[in-house]
């Protein structure tokens, strides 16, 4: 292929009515700078939070993560209680949401039900994701907590010898918070897993079925293994969401500052303490400690989402 020399592309001024190439150049560079500023926002965010957390980082160092004390008056701060609550509630959420979400993905991607019913189900599940989390939390206080209270009491009476159910509940608890998180991350797991499953070639299914597998044997031996990495990506994205979810959790977790091993006890998470204490935080070290918590949460979700994104991207899927 021969390249056309540049001068042969120039058009006489009389036709073009003035050279407008500079407009294109300014346009392109202007947009490029705007696009780069999106990167700047993320870096700015990290830098600002890090800087504001600096007093606490200097005062407590990395030991902050394992310190349990949180005393605003004595200015002693540690992240252990909140880190524990965040991880435990997210784990409970995944425990509930993964099997249910994957089942929904199977039901909505395979031909169990007529097409219109499948798409309606998909739509309804995704509708949950659009309900503001403060409303889910409000529902949690007035519907979910009363509903789960007898179940929690029964758990304590029958399995009280297991430390996880070792205390009597008074309503709000880590278990309730985990349950509400499960409701909120379910759409993420279901929708992405369904997209992954729909992307699996039909031939694989047909091949398995024609070898004599029943539908569920095909699903468990072919479909799920083939879509496993995509499902894991979906679970990671959901985990990222669960770790950072604030309102619904804050409203049903009870906001206590004690680490209790029992799931029936009230607890606290990093987002909850941020939501609760920032409005009243005055001391520089107190604000710094809260910022330190925010920084930990920021880093945690950043890492998890990067891994999830790369897994989902290798599957060639959009979020």
């Amino acid at each position: 292929m021969t390249t056309i020399p540049p001068q042969s592309r120039t058009i006489p001024d009389s036709i073009e009515g003035g050279n407008t190439a500079w407009i294109d150049l300014v346009f392109a560079w202007g947009l490029r700078i705007l696009a780069l500023s999106a990167i700047a926002i993320l870096l700015w965010m990290g830098w600002i939070i890090f800087n504001a957390a600096l007093p606490a980082i200097k005062a407590f160092g990395l030991g902050f993560i394992t310190r349990q004390e949180w005393d605003v008056n004595q200015l002693q701060f540690g992240a252990k209680t909140y880190l524990y609550g965040t991880i435990v509630t997210s784990a409970i959420a995944l425990l509930f949401a993964v099997p249910i979400g994957v089942m929904i993905a199977i039901v909505t991607s395979e031909k169990f039900l007529p097409g219109w019913l499948r798409s309606t189900l998909g739509f309804l599940i995704e509708l949950i994701a659009s309900i503001p989390s403060v409303i889910i939390g409000f529902w949690g206080i007035f519907v979910l907590i009363p509903f789960l209270k007898p179940i929690q009491s029964a758990l304590h009476q029958n399995f009280g010898w297991i430390p996880l159910f070792g205390t009597e509940t008074f309503g709000p608890s880590l278990l309730v918070a985990g349950t509400i998180l499960a409701v909120m991350i379910l759409p993420t797991i279901a929708a992405i897993s369904r997209d992954v499953m729909l992307a699996i070639p039909q031939d694989l299914r047909t091949a398995s079925l024609s070898l004599g597998a029943t539908r569920w044997e095909m699903i468990t031996t072919v479909l799920i293994p083939a879509s496993l990495s995509g499902i894991i990506g979906a679970i990671m994205l959901a985990l990222g969401r669960a770790l950072g979810e604030t309102m619904a959790v804050t409203m049903v977790i009870g906001n206590s500052d004690q680490v209790s091993i029992s799931l029936l006890d009230s607890g606290n998470t990093i987002p909850s303490i941020l939501a609760n204490q920032f409005p009243e935080a005055l001391d520089e070290l107190h604000i710094g400690a809260l910022m330190y918590l925010a920084l930990i949460l920021f880093a945690l979700t950043l890492i998890i989402n990067m891994i999830a994104n790369s897994i989902v991207k290798t599957f060639g899927l959009k979020q």
Partner: protein, 291 residues
Amino acid sequence: MTLEQQLTKPLSLDRRIFSYSMSAIAVLFTGLALLPLLSVLFEILRQGLPNLKWEVFTNLPAPAGDTSVVGGFANAIQGTVLMVSMAALFSVPFGIAIAVYLSEIGKSGSIAQTVRFVLSILSAVPSIVVGVFAYAVIVLATIFEYRGFSALAGGFALAVIMLPIVVLSTEEALKLVPNHQRLASAALGANSFQTVFKIVLKSALPSITTGVLLAIARASGETAPLIFTALFSQSWVEQILNPTPSLSVMIYNYSSSAFPEQTQMAWTASLVLLGLVTVTNLLSRLITRKR
């Protein structure tokens, strides 16, 4: 056993049981997942509808414990609309410009790839962390000699939350514009600036609107970043550097109130907020379906 017998032998019992029971579990789980949704909708309608009067949209909140006045949350609606508008004013033009860069100029270049990656990361940053960022940048800073909680800080946080949604959805919309439209425009002598503004953006407008509406719906329901940036107030919004009420923070504040009429008001506010969000969502679906 002859071949014929083997071929016509019915499926063994355990394989049949496995198949049927898994189907039952799958349908059961799907039903289970719908329960919370139906319960939320039912409860909001049951508790919120009886108090949905006109005064709710025109009055200020009644003083706590005073049941002689019909309270409303007009100021919270005003604050939500104000802060979401401020956020949209910033994030929509900015977001569309970035999307134009990604789809028309950067394409699959390394800058565009990085920007896309960063935006997908930004969209996954917990909203409370965005709130902390806005708190550090605006509430703790001194702007125009004001220091403190304000609509400006709330709007800033919402803008950062909306930006990635606007960019990523606008880029998808721009990708759907057929390339021959761009070529035709260029062949008629338009420069890229004219092509983008007069041809590409124009024909992608409905899908861009969809993305913008989704971002607005998302921002109107956000609570976490507003609790300590905009805070709350019981009075009308007078200026953007004062603490500002919003529907979502009002629901949060009233949810644990000791006064039953405030809890009732929170249910009504939930109904209004959910209605707002759902209408915006449905509207965006309708716009794209028509095409």
